[in-house]
Every structure is written in structure tokens, then in C-alpha cells.
Amino acid sequence: MSRVLVGVKRVIDYAVKIRVKPDHSGVVTDGVKHSMNPFCEIAVEEAVKLKEKKLIKEVVAVSCGPTQVTETIRTALAMGCDRGIHVEVSGKDYEAMGPLQISKIFAALAKKEEASLIILGKQAIDDDCNQTGQMTAALLDWPQGTFASEVTIDGEKVKVVREIDGGLETIKISMPAVLTADLRLNTPRYATLPNIMKAKKKKIANMKPADLGVDMVSRVEVLRVDEPPTRLAGVKVETVDDLVAKLRANGTI
């Protein structure tokens, strides 16, 4: 009776040009196109694939945030998840929300739903934390297979090929476990209109962090957000002698 929880995060679309707010408190999100975090798409695809191979019974898509995140859950349902859970977080709590709070929520949900696997994206493209999976595993005292580029379920164990600096590492961990998806794990399917329509029948449960006994207090405060420094224009020279002269003048040689 194995159940998989998949985390999906609603982030600013990967193709959008990010702009910093004039007061440097964050980035502009109003009216900006949002979509599912690409690594979360890969996580959903892996979970749905496992279900199609009949290795697991049910895939539950989970997202934390305001009402808009239900769009992201719907996309996950259209990709093949069975049902969704929307953990409602809004306002200041949502702005301050980070890996610590999310991992507490996931740990509580994993126990409540009796999940055998939690699959998350390795990181979100907005904050690039790469912490939620690891923290969730630590809170649950479960083994973790992070940066997964290949996942194989073998009885009560999972074989994970991990992308690490300098190559690939293969590990075998017991279930229940937390996995985080890397780019080459799979090719996510597209949520086409017919799939979206079919997914409308699927249920999304609604709850608050307090229902799970999680406090959303943040220990991190964002002080300032700046754009990266603009790259200075290069200088073109005509001859090799000019180049040497310029380098000498610059103090490089």
C-alpha cells in the first residue's frame, strides 16, 4: 500500500526576466508569469512513472502557499497525480516561508499520510536553496537520495544513482526515504488541455500549517536584494601589440 508525496512549488517562470523591486526588498512578482518549478516537474514525472510501473499505489501532490498554488497542484494532477493537498500559507508567512517550514510540513504530512517515499525537486529556481529534501529527511530520520539521476525500486529498498562532482554515485537506501530529483532523471510529460480537463475531477484537500502542528516562524530575515553587477563592456584592439600595451597599462602583465 505505498503512497508517494510529491512537493511542487509555484515559482516565477524560468523564461521570465527577473526584476528587482525598487525598494530592494525582493523581486517583482505581481502580474509576472508563474509556473511549476522545473525540478518539481521532474519529481512529479518520476512519481507518476513509478505508479505506471505499478511499483506504488498513489501519488499525492503537495504545495504550500496562497490560493494561486492550486494551479500548480492542478498541473501536477494533469500530469498523473491522484490527488492534491494545498497547505494554505499567505501574507507575511508566505513571504518568509522557506525550506525549514516546508520540511516541517512535509514531515508532518508524511506521517499523517503514511508515505513510503517523498520526492522533491533538488532545488527551486527562485531561491536555489537545495535544502528542503535534506531537512525533511533529517526531521523524519529517513535516508535520503539527493541529486537523483536514476531511481530503481527493489523490494523495500531504493537504488539511487546520484549526480555528484566528478561523476555518479550509486547508493541503496531503505524505504521510507526522501529523494530529490536532478535534471537528467527523466523527461517530464506536458500537461495538455485534455489532461487538465480530466484532472478537474481529482480532489485537492485544503489545510493550514497549524492543522499539522507546524509553526511558520522564520529564523531568516531578508535584508536586501540586488541585481548582479552589470558586466563591463569589453574593449576591442586592432593588433597584438595594442593588446600587449593595453595589458601592460592595466597592470595585468
Binding site: A15, P38, R74, I125, T187, P188, Y190, T192, L193, I196
Partner: protein, 105 residues
């Protein structure tokens, strides 16, 4: 529905353009149009650009009556759907690879 009202109106206009008289495969054609329109929302050159070209491509063939020809055109449309999905995936994959991974030696 994550479909703009404008896109929906467009689909309705097109259904009317196809004529109220039933012709073979009408519902399949309209379904294909709606699916393509939805997919076009993510088109790199803009949803409007895609919609205009999609609309004129369909209207160009509105007087075709032969069911075999219509089936062929629908198949072509399905192929375009697959091409678009591949385009979107490759674009996303390549951007992610460039952003997050060291260039291969």
C-alpha cells in the same frame, strides 16, 4: 479554466466559421484547435503571434469536405502538438543545463 476569455471566444468564432451545418469530423477539428491554442500560450514569440497563425491556418482549410483529407490534416495538427511539446522541453532543458551545470569539457 486557465484559458483566457479571448481564446475561448476565438474558438467559438472558429466553430461558427466552420458553419453550423455538420460536416464529418467537426468535433475533432474543434478539439484539435482548442488543444493547439492552449499549447500556444507558452509559445516563445508570444501567445498572440501563435493564435493569429493558428487561426489563419485553420481558416485557410475551412472549405475542405473530403473526410480523408480532413483526417490527414488532423494528423498533421497532432504532429505539430508533439513538435511544440518537444520545443518547449528542449528550451527548458537547455536553459536549466546552462544555468545550473558546468560546461562539459
Amino acid at each position: 479554466m486557465c484559458f483566457s476569455t479571448e481564446s475561448h471566444l476565438c474558438a467559438v468564432q472558429l466553430s461558427l466559421a466552420f458553419g453550423t451545418m455538420a460536416y464529418p469530423l467537426r468535433s475533432e477539428v474543434v478539439r484539435l484547435y482548442k488543444n493547439l491554442l492552449y499549447l500556444g500560450q507558452e509559445y516563445p514569440k508570444g501567445a498572440g503571434y501563435f493564435r493569429d497563425r493558428l487561426k489563419s491556418a485553420f481558416l485557410k482549410n475551412k472549405d475542405v469536405k473530403d473526410p480523408e483529407m480532413i483526417k490527414q490534416m488532423i494528423a498533421r495538427g497532432e504532429f505539430v502538438i508533439k513538435e511544440l511539446e518537444a520545443l518547449y522541453y528542449l528550451r527548458k532543458y537547455r536553459t536549466m543545463k546552462k544555468r545550473y551545470y558546468e560546461p562539459e569539457e
